[in-house]
């Protein structure tokens, strides 16, 4: 574990960079798909951090939580994409700035 060890700090930095990219993506993109992808990016950056810390401490807790996050993310993808498709079918766009009306 030690020999193959890359410095934990790099993982954490990568995780932070990915999370930041995800955040910026959520904040600046208009397309629902892109926001969705940015969210996935943030989830995976968190997974990365979890796995990295788990490896560092030699426990499995982080890995288990990472799996949990993946499962939830998968479910979320299914639900989220379904909503996006449904929204697109109805108003012919996935631009979130146009989705400011709750009226159907």
């Amino acid at each position: 574990m030690d020999q193959s060890a890359v410095n934990i700090g790099l993982y954490v930095i990568l995780s932070g960079v990915l999370f930041t990219i995800g955040i910026v993506g959520v904040l600046v993109r208009r397309s629902a798909i892109m926001i969705f992808m940015a969210i996935e990016l943030m989830l995976n950056s968190a997974n990365l951090a979890l796995v990295a810390f788990a490896r560092q401490h030699g426990g499995v807790d982080g890995q288990i939580i990472a799996f949990l996050v993946m499962v939830i993310a998968a479910a979320e993808v299914a639900v989220g994409l379904t909503i996006i498709v449904a929204v697109f079918r109805r108003i012919k766009t996935v631009d979130v700035d146009k989705l400011h009306s709750l009226k159907g």
Binding site: V26, L27, R30, I35, V96, D97, L99, H100
Partner: protein, 736 residues
């Protein structure tokens, strides 16, 4: 024989029953039925009075007190006034006069009021009057006397104003006359009630006490009286107590002062005198009586000549013990005492009213002033201590003055009939007045019975021997002369002159009405009245002729009779010189009247033959000494001014406009304004609007965040997360 006295309540109850029957069934009974019920009630009352008389005569004139029911009882102040009837010679005399003359007048009124639309009501009032008057004379205490006193005043008011609904000014005049009588009598009634209250304050009772025993029994009575007067104050009565208090020289607490009982009695008698001047129409309160002639003639005869107006004389006679005590206490210069004042007021009234009567045109007005004058004779009589003479004149005057009034009614009736005959119910001519003597004349030929009885009445009034008026008037003059002193002499002088006036104005009236030529077509067509009216006249005429036998000089029936109940009664002395002189005076006055009015009673311009020779004097007399105008100036005018001032200025301007509008309404408005504007709009609305504005502004501020862009929400979440992370990390970093 005593049992018969227990019937006495019936003299009041029977007329009361009559009035109730007529009140509720009068319309159904019809004129005849109403007349029979009312006259029957009066007749039964007379019958009871006669029974009382018989009872007294059979019982040595010893009367009794008949208890009827409890009335006023206030144990806390020891006040107990039962409703008791007093049967003694004085009250029975009054009962006989009232119910006897009353019965004849009831019968007469059936004819006089024929066809009046309120016929039953008239008889209801008459019966009410009879019941009230009999209560007045038969009560055994001043409280009952006062109740009767007020009730007859009420009846007088109702009957004077009986024709209040006559068309035009006539009706208003009648109603004003009724009000005037009532209001003037208030002044006298004030004196009455003050006197009664003072009596109660002084003696603790208003009872007349048990009937005094006639002289024969007096010895036994005195033993009883001397005993425990204190304890049995209730039953001893005012008069016995008065004598006892004076003897003991007691004092009476009035306010902070202790007043000797003699002075209190003087005050009581003066207040009673004020009451008498009101009811018996004496100076200064006589002005209501002439106006009272606005009532139907039977009313004038019954109430305003024969009975009600004599209540004052009865009351003073009843209180003779008090007046005789007051006689010993001079209160004015020249040794004048209360009875002296009574005598002078009476004599002055007799004189003044006599002068006015000589210059009137209205047949009833002459009789009204004559009545005032004769009442003055009676008041003067009781004032000089001639109680028997006063009551004697009261009785004879009731006969011949009722006779004169009823005959005058008959004359008016005839004149109206004649007027109706000539005008054929069509046009109304130049203010013809059936009561104005100037339109009469020559009625001797057309109304024979009326003429004869009228002349009988006139001669009786004038005091011609041997008619009733001669005896009674002579006795008054003799009593005045015997009294002597300042008051007796003044009274005698005034009364003698007034007696001359009496003969003169009666001569004038008879000559104007019955002799000479008819001065108006109505007089030419006048007709005699129906029998129902003439028969009572004949009855009264007989009484006027023989009335004198009640108290012939030397026989003194009435003196003995009244002596049984009037403590200070005494038989008048017959003075042949005086009697002869008075008769001569009356004859001279009649001759003078003939000389003036015999040939031509009224001048061509419808004026009195004496008007131009006497000039202003005649005007003064015709204007009734301007008494009414004088009262207008000193009482009615100021009263109206004050009344108007109170109504317009104080009530309307000050109270209503000032207080009500300026204080109440304006204050309310101001408070309302304050509550509405600064308070409600300012404070309450300010709070509410302020809250709304704060919330609104907050909402406005919050709305900025809610822009609907998902990214901005996400950014907020991001910032929140950063914040949370910082909060978590800062302590860790600082700690470690």
């Amino acid at each position: 024989m005593d049992g018969i006295f227990n019937l006495v309540p019936l003299i009041v109850l029977i007329p009361l029953g009559g009035l109730l029957i007529n009140l509720f069934a009068g319309r159904k009974l019809g004129e005849t039925g109403v007349g029979i019920v009312a006259s029957g009630a009066a007749g039964l009352s007379f019958l009871i009075s006669v029974l009382m008389w018989v009872g007294l005569a059979a019982n040595d004139f010893a009367g009794t007190v008949v208890p009827f029911m409890d009335w006023i009882k206030i144990p806390a102040v020891g006040l107990s006034i039962p409703w008791e009837f007093r049967v003694d010679t004085l009250s029975v005399t009054m009962m006989l006069v009232v119910s006897g003359v009353g019965t004849l007048i009831h019968i007469y009124a059936i004819g006089y009021m024929h066809g009046d639309e309120r016929f039953p009501r008239f008889f209801v009032y008459l019966n009410l009057f009879l019941a009230s008057m009999l209560t007045l004379v038969s009560g055994n205490n001043y409280a009952m006397l006062f109740v009767g006193w007020e009730l007859v005043g009420l009846c007088s008011f109702l009957l004077i104003g009986f024709w209040f609904d006559k068309a035009g000014y006539e009706g208003i005049k009648n109603s004003n006359a009724a009000s005037k009588a009532f209001i003037v009598n208030r002044v006298g009634d004030f004196g009455m009630i003050m006197a009664i209250l003072l009596t109660f304050w002084t003696f603790g009772t208003v009872d007349f006490g048990p009937v005094e025993a006639p002289p024969a029994h007096e010895a036994e009575m005195e033993v009883e009286e001397a005993g425990e007067a204190e304890e049995v104050a209730e039953s001893v009565g005012v008069f016995a107590l008065a004598e006892q208090f004076v003897e003991e020289d007691r004092t009476v607490p009035i306010g902070p002062m202790e007043v000797p009982v003699r002075h209190v009695i003087v005050a009581i008698t003066l207040l009673f005198l004020l009451g008498a001047t009101g009811k018996s129409a004496q100076i200064p309160l006589f002005v209501w009586l002439p106006d009272a002639m606005a009532g139907p003639t039977p009313v004038s005869a019954l109430i305003h000549a024969a009975t009600m107006v004599t209540a004052g004389i009865y009351m003073i006679t009843r209180s003779n013990v008090l007046y005789e005590i007051a006689r010993g206490i001079p209160i004015l210069p020249f040794g004048l005492t209360t009875p002296g004042i009574v005598a002078i007021i009476g004599a002055a009234t007799a004189f003044v009213a006599g002068t006015i009567a000589m210059a009137q045109w209205d047949i009833k007005r002459v009789l009204a002033y004559s009545t005032i004058s004769q009442l003055g004779f009676m008041v003067a009589a009781v004032g000089v201590g001639g109680y028997v003479a006063g009551m004697f004149h009261l009785a004879t005057h009731a006969f011949f003055k009722a006779l004169l009034f009823l005959s005058a009614g008959s004359v008016i009736h005839g004149m109206e009939h004649g007027h109706h005959h000539i005008s054929h119910g069509g046009h109304d001519d130049d203010g013809f007045d059936p009561q104005d003597m100037r339109y009469m004349g020559g009625l001797w030929g057309r109304m024979r019975i009326t003429s004869i009885v009228y002349i009988v009445g006139a001669l009786a009034l004038a005091g011609i021997f041997p008619l009733a008026g001669f005896w009674s008037k002579d006795e008054i003059l003799a009593d005045a002369l015997n009294r002597g002193g300042t008051d007796g002499n003044i009274a005698f002088a005034l009364l003698t002159v007034a007696a001359g006036f009496t003969a003169f104005y009666m001569g004038r009236q008879v000559l104007m009405i019955f002799f000479g030529k008819p001065r108006h077509a109505a007089a030419e067509h006048a007709v005699e009245s129906p029998a129902v009216m003439t028969w009572p006249l004949i009855g009264l005429a007989v009484l006027s002729v023989i009335g004198g036998i009640m108290n012939l000089p030397g026989v003194h029936t009435l003196s003995d009779w009244l002596g049984a109940s009037v403590h200070h009664a005494h038989a008048g002395e017959f003075n042949p010189v005086l009697a002869g002189g008075a008769t001569l005076l009356a004859l001279v006055a009649l001759a003078l009247a003939y000389a003036v009015y015999g040939r031509k009673a009224v001048t061509d311009d419808m004026n009195d033959p004496l008007a131009s020779p006497l000039g202003p004097i005649w005007k003064f007399l015709n204007g009734k000494w301007y008494w009414d105008e004088f009262y207008d100036v000193i009482a009615v005018g100021p009263f109206n001014v004050i009344g108007r001032f109170l109504a317009d200025t104080v009530d309307w301007e000050l109270w209503h406009d000032g207080f009500h509008d300026k204080v109440l309404a304006a204050g309310f408005n101001r408070i309302g304004d304050f509550l509405a504007n600064p308070f409600d709009l300012g404070i309450i609305d300010g709070i509410v609007n302020g809250i709304a504005r704060v919330v609104g502004r907050l909402g406005g501020a919050m709305r900025g965040i809610q822009n609907g862009y998902v990214r901005s929400y996400a950014f907020s979440i991001f910032l929140g997360v950063v914040f949370v992370v910082i909060v978590i990390l800062v302590p860790v970093v600082l700690a470690g």
